[in-house]
């Protein structure tokens, strides 16, 4: 059995914000990470001035708030305490990206700072965790907007200095669903399209019109209303789901900087069940992306968006081949990648989906492309992270799938028998999972098994 995943933070010193007469200096401590040259303990990625100190300070506070918030508290779990995971920062020549994921696994937040909004003295590509501690949060809240802000991510000297007694070390167990969710958001984002765009005062109006509380399963749908958006009770084509709408109010402290808001979502129709959505708040030189799960009580980890890709049975060799080509690109172009590795372009999408499931990629709406961001996860955790996939594989191996005729399959599991119909647009199953979610949380294990069996058709007696 594989141990529960955890992340060990080891900071040479706490992150801090200091001020003198000329401005403020924000030093973000780093813990472990990857660079194009390999793994490093205390990476040094950035040094320079930020053009919009107030934007960066408030956005970092927002990320820290998301990281430590339970937007939904399950009944009987009031006192359960989960340590918030520190934000992940990715440095590329195009700028800096900070990512955070809520404790309840239902809200994803990312801050992108464009290189154009940075006066860069040093920039190296890579990914790491950064420490955002309570005193730093307080200091960020007090940052004067007009003060120049010098930002440093990591310490150059530490690469040669002996770590002193300021070492901050902590091992944070991260629930599997947290890791799954973090990876899953990116694949879900890749399947979304731009649905709405707001600018000016309409941005504040919309965010401030959101209810401050809602019931657990509440989902409203953002629809066009002239230059504004209206929250409707029912989905319509083009609508974007806002499940647990008060969660989007986390953007409120940034509204005074907002120049625009873009809403992304999957295709909706009048019978759609609640869906995930993503909201990108544009600010001068930076933008914040908020991802919302389809229900407050549902984390992203249960969405199963990756499973269809995995069922496509991506070859490990192809995965390795593509993975080795990635070097912190801020925009991965499938066509160019396919040419580089010598694979058909159609094969690249499932490979990228699988890599995202390993936490190797993030998705950028503005670029409409994945970017390379390897999270500290082990690829052998895949089966643990996707039990439905491994269950399905077992059903196939145990010979529990048979042809039912007319594109249907019979899947026997735990003394029950399910009928699976594989369709062009939608797969259907008679199990409870399908009945309840109708495919919105990914395929059930019976559909996955039927899909896998349809490709391989092994002959074995069912022992499940």
């Amino acid at each position: 059995m594989i141990a529960a995943p955890s992340v060990s933070y080891r900071y040479a010193s706490p992150s801090a914000l200091s001020s003198d007469g000329t401005g403020s200096r924000l030093s973000l401590a780093t813990s472990g990470g990857s660079t194009p040259a390999g793994e490093v303990d205390s990476p040094y990625f950035f040094q320079g001035f930020v053009e919009r100190p107030a934007v960066v300070a408030q956005a970092l506070l927002l990320l820290a708030r998301v990281a430590r918030t339970r937007f939904y508290v399950p009944p009987n779990a009031l006192a359960a305490v989960l340590r918030a995971a520190d934000p992940v920062i990715t440095a590329t020549p195009d700028g800096l990206r900070f990512e955070a994921f809520s404790v309840c696994c239902g809200v994803y937040a990312r801050l992108d700072i464009d290189a154009g909004a940075l006066d860069i003295a040093h920039l190296a590509a890579g990914v790491t965790n950064v420490d955002v501690n309570p005193p730093l949060r307080q200091a960020l809240a007090g940052l004067r907007p007009s003060e120049p802000l010098h930002l440093r991510v990591g310490e150059e000297e530490l690469r040669v200095a002996t770590l002193d007694d300021e070492l901050v070390e902590e091992s944070v167990p991260l629930p599997t669903r947290w890791l799954k969710g973090f990876a899953e958001t990116q694949v879900l984002f890749a399947g979304m399209s731009l649905r709405h765009e707001l600018s000016g005062i309409a941005v504040s109006r919309f965010i401030q019109s959101l209810p401050r509380a809602s019931s657990t399963k509440s989902a409203l749908w953002a629809t066009h209303a002239g230059r504004a958006l209206r929250l409707a009770s029912r989905p319509t084509p083009g609508a974007v789901c806002v499940a647990g709408p008060e969660r989007l109010r986390v953007l409120e402290p940034l509204l005074r900087f907002a120049t625009g808001l873009r809403a992304y979502g999957p295709d909706a129709h009048s019978d759609s069940l609640p869906m995930s959505s993503a909201w990108v708040l544009e600010m001068p030189g930076a933008r914040v992306t908020i991802g919302l799960s389809p229900e407050k009580s549902r984390g992203f980890s249960g969405e199963g968006a990756l499973l269809t890709s995995l069922a496509a049975d991506v070859e490990p060799e192809a995965l390795r081949l593509v993975s080795n080509r990635l070097a912190f690109q801020s925009r991965i172009q499938p066509g160019r990648l396919a040419a580089d590795v010598g694979l058909p372009e159609n094969d690249i999408a499932p490979i990228l989906g699988a890599l995202a499931s390993f936490g190797q990629l993030g998705f950028d709406f503005r670029a409409e492309a994945y970017f390379h961001r390897p999270l500290p996860m082990r690829t052998e955790l895949l089966d643990d992270l996707h039990p439905r996939f491994s269950d399905a594989r077992k059903l196939v191996e145990d010979g529990c799938v048979s042809d039912g005729g007319d594109s249907s399959y019979v899947v026997r599991s735990a003394e029950a028998q399910y009928r699976v119909v594989l369709g062009v647009d939608e797969d259907r199953c008679t199990c409870l999972w399908y009945t309840r979610h109708r495919g919105t949380r990914g395929p059930c294990k019976h559909v996955l098994a039927a899909r896998t069996w349809a490709g391989h058709a092994p002959e074995a007696a069912c022992t499940a």
């Binding site: 006192a79 809240a141 007090g142 005062i201 109006r205 209206r230 409707a232 005074r256 009048s270």
Partner: protein, 786 residues
């Protein structure tokens, strides 16, 4: 010295010891009277501290740890868990003396560790806010700190500063509330507040509205005394202009008075004032525009005029045109599409999948009808439903429709008794051979039947009829009452054919079938079937009654008023299985609502009782929606959906369901109701009739919620909103709380859509507003539209 049997005895004795003037050493010596094994368990280990930092034992469990630290040299890490253990357990829930004593006499605790309570937020179990919430009033941490400040034990200036520092630590609003409450309770004067004005400025950017309000209030006080650091204030204040209305207006007032200061950058003031234009409240928009006009930058406001309230634009930027934001009513809008479609009967092939889906959501009354139709005719019920039995028997937390599980059970095992009458058996304990044994005491008492527990008894009896078919006691058949279209109607010819080809009709099935025939055909079909026409309640009224609390406000008016709908129907007869279209006269609706459960499924089924009339449904839905104005009601959403798809005629009583929905507690229900409003007025009910319904339940709702919902509905159907307000406002008392929001909405929508205010009754009503209130100004503005 008293020896204690348990540590708990020591805790209980602490008050006595302190009353007798015990010192810390005395307390420690008393602790030594606790058996060593129990005493030493309080060792301040990381595990113990972690437990104390999360679970509130309501006892002074921190005291032994602290005494052992002081007198035994116990080494305990003073991390966050230690601080939270102190917050939660430095005294009991109903006393303050232990906490006061230790803070007065333990200098290290007072001078060092105490101040860390301002740094540690806490968690769902232990925090200053949570411990105080459940502690005796006047004996909580808040009062302890105030008392120690007042007596000079702890430094007042440092407490004030620490509270502000805590408010800037981005704590959750619930936990931050303790610090703002304590800061305000100490009533700092202007010079004290001015000493920490940098922290107050930081608070303006807080995401907690109470913190922003606190900062705005105290900065105004500082400004009044001429102590404000104006340039820094201007730089920081924009963050508060998207906050609470009063705080934003206060900030703009300060900006107005300092805009001319030499030290203040005009551009910075303009930038801050521009932020106020985005505020949703008209008072903030007004103040921002006025300030921009004073600074010679009206152009900024003019550029944003399309996003400002039309009344504000008309008043301050008269040459700018308001922009109408109108959303499209789609076919998915509730109530928009009432086209009936033929139902798709279930077959043996798809029954399992459809039954599984029905069981999962349990809200579609039409699916229930189709399920019953299939169960009554199929020979394969057992084999089809066996895999679903476990799911069907799954308990439903809200109750009310727990009949489906037993029905599936009967289908699978026909020997099962379907919905037996429950009984209650009193018991007593008797001593038998030295052991207490529970024995029956008297005769069992029969409890209410399922029919007596539900708002729709005919539905339960129809389930019994189908159960009898499944049990083989009645022949299989096509049910007569199964709707032939999605609105619940039955084609008369189909009914006659079912009747002619089937066995002796089941009584409730027959009655229900007749009620689903269109009124024009009912007499003919009833005669053809040789049946009696069911009694139908043709008229009812809803009266709203109130009772008041004995507690009164300083003005002498009651503190609380509880309103209840009273359904008055004629004849005064409750519905029964054979008379489902009778409307119960509900005299104490609250009691009856609880007695007669209205689950989401029943709410939907009520809509199918008599498709020609919404009254039987409205009689039950009004109490449901009324409860949804103050609490979560799981049937509220289904009730609105049922009304939206109900083909029956709407009356002013039906409109009350909608009116209450537009005042619901939950935003999603208000949104749903606003869409139904836009779809239903005037196509289903005239604005005049709807206004009568709205006015009828007005005493029981908050007008501000109507204003918000009608504003939402105006994005879909602005004319319907203006028309309703035209007929509704003259029916409302002018002094009603929140009336200004409705008058303001009338003005805004009339301006936005170029509507004149010409209705004579409305003009008379508006003209009676005098004075300088916002409502009076809006009324005059509306009258000016002619």
């Amino acid at each position: 010295m008293t020896e204690y049997k348990h540590l708990w005895d020591f805790y209980r004795d602490l008050s006595r010891l302190l009353g007798e003037g015990a010192t810390l050493r005395d307390l420690y010596e008393a602790l030594l009277m606790v058996p060593a094994d129990e005493r030493q368990r309080e060792d301040g280990s990381p595990a113990e501290l972690q437990s104390l930092s999360q679970w509130w034992s309501q006892s002074p469990s921190f005291v032994p740890i602290r005494l052992r630290e002081l007198f035994e040299g116990l080494e305990v890490p003073h991390g966050e868990d230690y601080v939270l253990a102190m917050v939660g357990h430095l005294g009991g829930r109903h006393e303050q003396e232990v906490r006061l004593h230790l803070l007065r006499h333990d200098s290290q605790l007072r001078d060092d560790l105490f101040w860390r309570i301002f740094e540690v937020e806490g968690n769902a179990g232990i925090s200053l806010a949570n411990v105080d919430k459940y502690s005796s009033r006047d004996l909580d941490w808040h009062r302890t700190v105030i008392r120690l400040v007042d007596e000079g034990t702890i430094n007042r200036a440092r407490v004030l500063r620490s509270c502000l520092e805590a408010l800037n630590r981005d704590f959750a609003s619930y936990r931050a509330g303790w610090f703002s409450k304590t800061y305000n309770a100490l009533v700092p004067d202007a010079s004290e507040a001015a000493a920490d004005q940098a922290l107050l400025r930081q608070c303006l950017g807080s995401s907690v509205t109470a913190t922003v309000s606190l900062a705005a209030t105290h900065l105004a006080l500082i400004h009044k005394q001429g102590l404000l650091e104006a340039p820094q204030f201007v730089e920081a204040c924009a963050a508060a202009l998207s906050g609470p209305k009063a705080a934003a207006v206060g900030i703009l007032r300060i900006l107005e008075t300092i805009a001319g200061d030499d030290a203040v950058s005009v551009d910075a003031v303009v930038s801050a004032a521009s932020s106020g234009l985005a505020h949703p409240h008209v008072d903030v928009q007004r103040a921002s525009i006025r300030l921009l006009q004073r600074l010679g930058r009206e152009d900024i406001a003019r550029d944003s005029s399309g996003d400002l309230a039309p009344a504000v634009v008309a008043e301050l930027l008269p040459s700018a045109a308001p922009v109408a934001a109108v959303a499209r009513l789609s076919d998915a809008t509730p109530g928009r599409s009432l086209a009936a479609a033929p139902v798709q009967p279930w077959s043996d092939e798809d029954a399992r999948e459809r039954f599984a889906e029905f069981l999962e959501f349990r809200t579609s009354a039409l699916d229930l009808e189709l399920a019953l139709a299939w169960l009554a005719i199929t020979e394969n019920a057992a084999s089809t439903l066996t895999p679903l039995l476990k799911r069907a028997l799954r308990s439903q937390p809200d109750g009310g429709d727990q009949w489906l599980g037993p029905l599936v059970q009967v289908a699978v095992d026909p020997e099962t008794i379907f919905l037996p009458r429950p009984i209650w058996q009193r018991t007593r304990m008797v001593l038998v051979d030295g052991v207490y044994v529970e024995r029956p005491d008297g005769q069992p008492t029969p409890l209410r039947t399922e029919e007596e527990r539900t708002a729709l008894p005919s539905l339960v009896t129809r389930l019994r009829e189908v159960a009898s078919i499944l049990q083989g006691r009645t022949p299989r058949r096509r049910l007569l009452a199964t709707p032939t279209d999605t609105q619940g109607w039955i084609d008369p010819d189909v009914l006659l054919e079912r009747f002619d080809s089937g066995p002796v009709p089941l009584p409730v099935d027959l009655t229900q079938a007749i009620l689903r025939i269109r009124p024009a055909d009912r007499d003919r079909i009833t005669r053809a079937l040789g049946a009696e026409r069911p009694v139908i309640t043709e008229a009812m009224s809803i009266e709203w009654t109130s009772r008041v609390s004995s507690a009164v406000r300083p003005s002498g008016s009651p503190k609380w008023i509880w309103w209840s709908p009273v359904i008055v129907a004629d004849p005064v007869t409750d519905p029964s299985p054979l008379q489902p279209a009778l409307i119960p006269s509900i005299t104490t609706s609250r009691w009856d609502l609880e007695r007669r459960q209205v689950s989401p499924l029943v709410a939907g089924a009520l809509g199918l009782v008599d498709p020609s009339s919404t009254l039987p449904f409205a009689a039950v839905a009004v109490p449901v929606m009324h409860s949804a104005t103050s609490e979560v009601n799981l049937s509220a959403g289904t009730s609105l959906s049922t009304l939206a798809s109900h083909p029956g005629v709407w009356t002013s009583e039906t409109a009350q369901v909608l009116a209450l929905g537009m005042a619901a507690l939950r935003a999603e229900h208000r949104t749903h109701a606003a869409e139904l409003f836009a779809a239903a007025i005037p196509s289903r009910i005239s604005p005049q009739q709807a206004a009568i319904g709205f006015a009828g339940c007005q005493p029981a709702i908050a007008l501000s919620r109507w204003a918000s919902s009608l504003s939402d509905a105006a994005m879909l159907a602005p004319d319907a909103v203006v028309d309703l307000l035209t007929h509704l406002l003259p029916r409302l008392p002018r002094a009603a709380r929140g009336i200004g929001a409705l008058v303001g909405l009338l003005l805004d929508e009339s301006l936005r859509h170029h509507r004149a205010v010409s209705d004579p009754a409305l003009r008379v009503w508006l003209a009676a507003f005098t004075g300088s209130s916002g409502t009076a100004k809006a009324a005059r503005g509306a009258l000016a539209l002619g």
